[in-house]
């Protein structure tokens, strides 16, 4: 009996040790980048242009990351939510539903480099756009859409049946019910999903190497609102190197004495952004929940 108790204690201790170890590794990774960046980091790093002769900054690159994220979300959010509504509210058990589900699983399994090749064949070569932010964003949508679709579906399914029944009982059509009774309740879950998937979009690099390009970053003039001018930061048809790709490029083609510091700081910015996305999604989800239930 003593042996059994000892085994229990030992197992519990091991599980605690494993958990502590994993959390410690994560803390160590974050601490490493923070400590490596602290001596050289300043807020100016976030806004100034890259340089080979001094630390410089990642201003245009960070902008590209945010711009690509916005563009990707612009395409995938409406599709994801509408598709989620179909899967949660209309889809039956039929073959069509199976095909859609199987497609979802297949596409989530495709390696990002293969998605990058696909984007290259379709959005760079076949369309003759060359490397572009638009092509990059559409490529990112390939990852993002199945994820968003699933998260929206889950959020909509989680809405209690009474909400629907009450609305239908009042004589509302199904669509009216979805719009006015189901969606408002599901919104917090959907928003949490959107923000969470944003993290993945922000960090993706392999798929963008062949689609959004590896241009030497230029100085952006934000007053240039001409969407067809490849020099304008607002133009979707210009190439756009994002922060993740920039870290990759720093390693492979970095020219200058500050490559390591700049890459360390960029990595920290990326990690911090992911942390922010995470906290934001929790906070937003909770805040929206409160508003919805307060109504």
């Amino acid at each position: 009996m003593k042996r059994i108790l000892l085994a229990d204690r030992l197992a519990t201790a091991t599980l605690w040790a494993v958990a502590l170890f994993v959390v410690a590794v994560l803390v160590a990774i974050i601490a490493h980048f923070v400590l490596a960046s602290l001596p050289t980091f300043s807020l100016a790093f976030l806004f100034s242009d890259p340089s080979d002769t001094e630390i410089g900054g990642v201003g245009p690159i960070l902008w590209n990351s945010i711009y690509m994220l916005a563009l990707t979300m612009l395409f995938s959010t409406p599709l994801g939510i509408l598709g989620g509504i179909y899967m949660a509210e209309y889809a039956g058990e039929g073959r069509l539903t199976n095909v859609i589900r199987f497609s979802q699983e297949l596409i989530s399994s495709v390696p990002s480099i293969v998605v990058g090749l696909f984007g290259f064949a379709l959005f760079v070569s076949a369309t003759h756009w060359g490397f572009s932010a638009l092509g990059g964003a559409l490529t990112l949508m390939v990852f993002n859409l199945p994820l968003l679709l699933r998260l929206s579906e889950q959020a909509i399914r989680a809405v209690p049946a009474d909400e629907r029944a009450a609305s239908l009982a009042l004589g509302a059509t199904k669509w009216q019910t979805i719009r006015h009774a189901v969606l408002p309740v599901a919104i917090p879950g959907i928003v949490t999903g959107i923000v969470l998937t944003a993290g993945r979009v922000f960090g993706e690099a392999a798929a963008l190497l062949f689609t959004a390009g590896l241009a030497t970053p230029t100085h952006y003039n934000f007053a240039n609102l001409n969407l067809f001018d490849p020099q304008s930061p607002w133009s979707p048809l210009r190439p756009a190197t994002t922060l993740s790709v920039f870290i990759w490029k720093s390693n492979s083609e970095g020219l200058g004495n500050y490559v390591q510091q700049v890459a360390d700081m960029s990595a920290m910015v990326l990690v911090v952004m992911v942390l922010v996305f995470n906290l934001a999604s929790r906070w937003l989800g909770r805040a929206l929940q409160r508003r919805v239930s307060g109504l």
Partner: protein
């Protein structure tokens, strides 16, 4: 402040010392001009200052893509052109020589840069559609980890022995008793193709015993941190990392713009810009500008390339 201006500034400063140290030769850079452009670039950041614009502007918008080895040069030239001609746009992409040739052939870009000739990559009927513009000579230098002391130059035979895997210890070439770690660029890269034809005379590298790293920067880092390692990198990358790696001459000649120009340094090749058919409009104007004095005599030496002629 643009990155190219600053890169220009720093490199121009270094080039002044570099060219001067090598005895100048036929490199036509005026040290004072390069020096002042560096100061301007570093302090005010005026785009590609010190490099005069084209004699006549053509409006329009073109995109180029291709060789990452040529990207800094074309990028700087593009910025100098558009600084003088604000109504024109020149977007310069990397992607690799293969990408450049593919995209110019497809018409996705107007100019494709390549380290190697189109004939060596494309089918004859495809290559014949492209027009070659030789704009520059680029040089490469063999580098070793700083712990490999006593090896200042390798003969072609020694280098071949090391790269094909028959020489595996630095002792055999006058260095310390230490295993040689060979670091290669991808077999498809222009750097490796040039080295293979110029130095190895077509012999196959011992890639099964080597490391392969993606690009100049990754190779430089790997050589700088791996004891006993050696590889080949572009001139500009060596200049920017002189403290991290040690250069090794070829057949007694040290690589420099001067020795490249007088032909004694063999590890060099032409850089090409390809257009589909005869160029016109801004494409032609930009290609002409690449061959003009501001680029050939001022910009090119400051970035450690040598003029095409």
């Amino acid at each position: 402040m643009t990155s190219s201006a600053k890169r220009l500034g720093a490199l121009a400063l270094a080039a002044t010392a570099f060219v001067a140290a090598c005895g100048g030769g036929t490199a036509a850079t005026s040290p004072s001009a390069a020096g002042s452009s560096a100061a301007a670039g570093a302090s005010t950041g005026a785009a590609a200052s010190g490099v005069a614009g084209p004699s006549a502007c053509v409006d329009g918008s073109i995109t180029t893509s291709g060789s990452t080895a040529l990207q800094p040069l074309v990028d700087a030239a593009g910025k100098a052109y558009t600084a003088a001609c604000p109504k024109s746009t020149i977007s310069v992409q990397g992607g690799g020589s293969g990408t450049g040739l593919t995209q110019v052939l497809q018409g996705a870009v107007q100019i494709g840069e390549s380290d190697v000739t189109a004939e060596s990559k494309l089918k004859p009927d495809e290559a014949s559609q492209l027009v070659d513009h030789v704009i520059v000579r680029q040089g490469w230098v063999m580098v070793v980890n700083n712990d490999v002391t006593g090896v200042t130059s390798l003969t072609t035979q020694q280098a071949t022995g090391i790269w094909t895997g028959t020489i595996t210890n630095w002792k055999a070439v006058g260095g310390p008793d230490q295993a040689i770690v060979l670091i290669l660029r991808p077999a498809s890269s222009g750097t490796r193709a040039t080295f293979k034809s110029v130095v190895l005379k077509g012999a196959n590298e011992a890639s099964g015993q080597a490391l392969t790293e993606d690009s100049n920067g990754a190779v430089t880092t790997a050589v700088g941190t791996t004891p006993g390692s050696t590889s080949v990198i572009g001139f500009a990358y060596y200049q920017a990392n002189k403290d991290k790696v040690t250069a090794v001459g070829l057949d007694g000649v040290q690589g420099s713009v001067a020795t490249m120009l007088d032909g004694t340094y063999k590890l060099q090749a032409f850089g090409h810009m390809y257009s589909k058919g005869q160029p016109d409009g801004l494409t032609k104007s930009f290609l002409d500008y690449m061959m003009s004095d501001p680029i050939q005599k001022t910009l090119i030496p400051s970035l450690f390339y040598a003029p095409a002629q």
